[in-house]
Subunit: 191 residues, 2 copies
DNA sequence: ACTCGATACATCGGTTCCGATGTATTGTCG
DNA sequence: CGACAATACATCGGAACCGATGTATCGAGT
């Protein structure tokens, strides 16, 4: 686990999209070409937010430019020649960094959070994994209110709007389910 | 409910962010100045995804340019002069249009969906509201898989990765809770 | 022979997003 | 009296996103 090169530290920035995290996460297991990568990312998050090719290929280029992955051109087995992508050592370090210190948005936005969870096993260090789960736990434990009367948060029962009541109902049910899972998983990580 | 002006139809585009929807939604009730608008949007979605001022003000400008809202400068009651924003008739039509025909992403992405729900009462037409809920119902009813072994979707029990298992567990619990609410609400809208 | 769909990659241009930064005023706390 | 937070708006530049479009190959159907 050496230090990051200047090229790499230059890449450490806020708001590094969840797309990049997914690319790094999938390539951590095994080298893949772009098309296959796209299929896997689509399976993971595509039902919520489809991955445009015109978003994926520039993202791959960014990561290549940052020295996190390399391309090897292979003659096409089926069709056009493939660019097989594999992570560099720096790419592997960077993935672990992004998993260890996720951006605040990675914690609060469910889509991003699921992407973190999908690859968290790569951290391979139970205390570090537990620390990430605890950040999510802290976020879910502070009461989130959606609607206010002035400064006072409104409870579901106080809303006559059935749709806004739905937002609160669903958010609470979701939160309860995840809290249960988080506490159980933390227990088994700590124990 | 007249036809939309050319300026307005030009604005009908894909991927019209949920920020614009929130602006239109809040102003539908009452005129507000930008700063107050920001506080309300922050309460609604800020815990997941904070609203940068540098995103809000350009969005207001876009909507103004499109003829959906107008600004009136008021001498500042407390501090700097305020720009009180109010929807035009076209703005009101456009909000109802966006609520009646939400973008596919507004249905699939929970953050966007919650924004739709937060303002769906403005539609003021039970069958139209029910139609929107049914789109979400259809989306949640088709089984979503996150992880695959080749083409075969993996069930929670098949994963040894506790974090990926968590993704499936949480997604299912969330889905069940929302389906319950959707079915109950549809029944009361239809009945 | 022709079309079509899947594989595989790429660019262009427009929109949106957002961190950093700047301006100005008022009220509050020490 | 000075620092500081809150109110209130705005711009700039860079990054990210994405629809449209283009290129090319291969196999299956018709």
């Amino acid at each position: 686990m050496g230090a990051l090169s200047p090229r790499c530290t230059a890449l450490i920035r806020q708001n590094a999209g969840m797309l990049e995290l997914a690319i790094l996460g999938f390539l951590y297991d095994t080298p893949l070409h772009g098309y296959e990568l796209r299929k896997r990312i689509s399976a993971l998050t595509g039902h919520v937010r489809p991955v445009a090719e015109s978003t994926l290929y520039p993202a791959i280029k960014r990561l290549e430019k940052a020295g996190l992955l390399v391309r090897a051109t292979e003659p096409g087995a089926v069709a056009a020649p493939r660019h097989v992508l594999s992570l560099t050592d720096e790419g592997r370090i960077e993935l672990r960094r992004r998993l260890t210190e996720p951006d605040e948005r990675d914690i609060t936005d469910e889509n991003r959070w699921f992407t973190v969870l999908a690859f968290l096993r790569h951290l391979d260090d139970a205390p570090a994994q537990a620390a990430v789960l605890r950040r999510r736990l802290a976020f879910l434990e502070e009461p989130a209110s959606f609607f206010y009367d002035g400064d006072r948060a409104l409870r579901a029962e106080e809303l006559d709007d059935p749709f806004r009541r739905g937002v609160l109902t669903i958010a609470r049910a979701t939160s309860r389910a995840e809290l249960r899972w988080l506490r159980a998983t933390l227990e088994s990580l700590d124990g």
